[in-house]
Amino acid sequence: MKVSYYPGCTLKSNAKNFEDSTLCALRELGVDVKELSRWNCCGTVYSLTTDDLMRHLASIRNLIRVKEEQADSVMTLCAMCYNTLKRVNERIKADPESLQKIHKFMDEEKIAYQGDVKVRHLLELLKEDVQFETIGKKVKKPLGNLKVASYYGCLLVRPKEIGLDDMENPTILDDLAVVLGAEAVDFPFKTECCGAYQTVDKPEIIADRTYQILTAAQNRGAEIVSVSCPLCAFNLDHRQKETSKKYSGFKRIPILYFTQLLAIAMGCQEKDLRLDLHYVNPGPLLKEKGLI
């Protein structure tokens, strides 16, 4: 199975642990991943205005790059890239007038893009193409009932036309965790916003959200929280520093990408997990459980 892969900016820096763990796990699963030879930032957030088409160009250029490589779909890992690329794609398909304007503006591009690339998240590929049952059969190191609370955040599940699971009660990450041998811990804050980009100018808000979200997961017995977005990962992991300062009773908890759990189960090496990029070190817990 071959897939075109769009990484996005943060997967190459702060979220290298997300990328490396994914690439190793997919290798083990027999998926041939081909990174686009050229790509640019997707824009990170989808513009909510009716009249500002300029903001959609970054995403469209990436979709043109996919077409140039003769692919008809592209896989993303980052929830923000997934949401932005997919919404822009849907928007131009539904609005031929805007598409015309965009074509006129991007007349240096050789392809007049028509919205015909399918934007997919890794989770869709794992569930629909590889299939969870097959993944279960290929598990080399079961997760030993590690208690995992899956945090979905916003952009994987909202809005409805983009989301890859139920908006209010998604379970896809939990289902995958169970297949890998973990114990899924359901908790009420799994789709509550972490504060996202407010982390730049209002980090105190993130400390409050991180406290609420992680304490709720811990109250349900979670040993780790798994995520699918590099911005959620930064807020929930690195902002635990600020959270500890603000809330004296706060207990730190490791945050892992769901792909790091997948990589462990598929028998990848510790180097593929890039645990050095974490603020709260998951190493001791994973060692204690015999997972690394």
Binding site: L48, T50, D51, L231
Partner: protein, 135 residues
């Protein structure tokens, strides 16, 4: 709080501009408050999401443009997906921000952010923040 309502304000271009930029019909809102009930950011807001819509319906331009709430909203879409009338509240929040940003009134002043802070946060945070909060 005393609020002065007037036909002039309701018919002001400001209301039309918010409707145009957001693509939403403000009068569809009947103030059920479901958006505010589910919003994770209300704790930091000065006026609630349903009040943002109400102020916009009534053309309370100065009050809206001074409100902290639109800058606390992180476009998480919880309000949008729960609104029984299908109003996209996050789009209205964006329209209010855009009215100010299009006059080059940035919410985040990039030169004022410390080097330490800029170095610590990932690219995804900086780019999304600047796209939402600067012109």
């Amino acid at each position: 709080m005393r609020t002065n309502l007037s036909k002039k304000k309701i018919e002001d271009d400001f209301v039309k501009k918010i409707e145009e930029i957001s693509g939403q019909k403000l009068l569809a809102c009947y103030q059920c408050g479901k958006c505010s009930a589910g919003c994770p950011a209300v704790g930091e807001m000065d006026i609630l999401p349903n009040q943002v819509i109400r102020y916009a319906q009534l053309g309370l331009k100065d009050e809206l443009l001074e409100a902290k709430s639109v800058w606390v909203c992180a476009s998480c879409y919880t309000c949008n997906v729960r609104c029984p009338k299908g109003i996209k509240i996050a789009e209205v929040m964006e329209a209010v921000r855009q009215v100010l940003l299009r006059k080059r009134r940035d919410h985040v002043e990039v030169p004022k952010l410390s080097e330490e802070e800029k170095a610590c946060v990932p690219a995804i945070a900086l780019i999304s923040n600047f796209r939402k909060f600067t012109s």
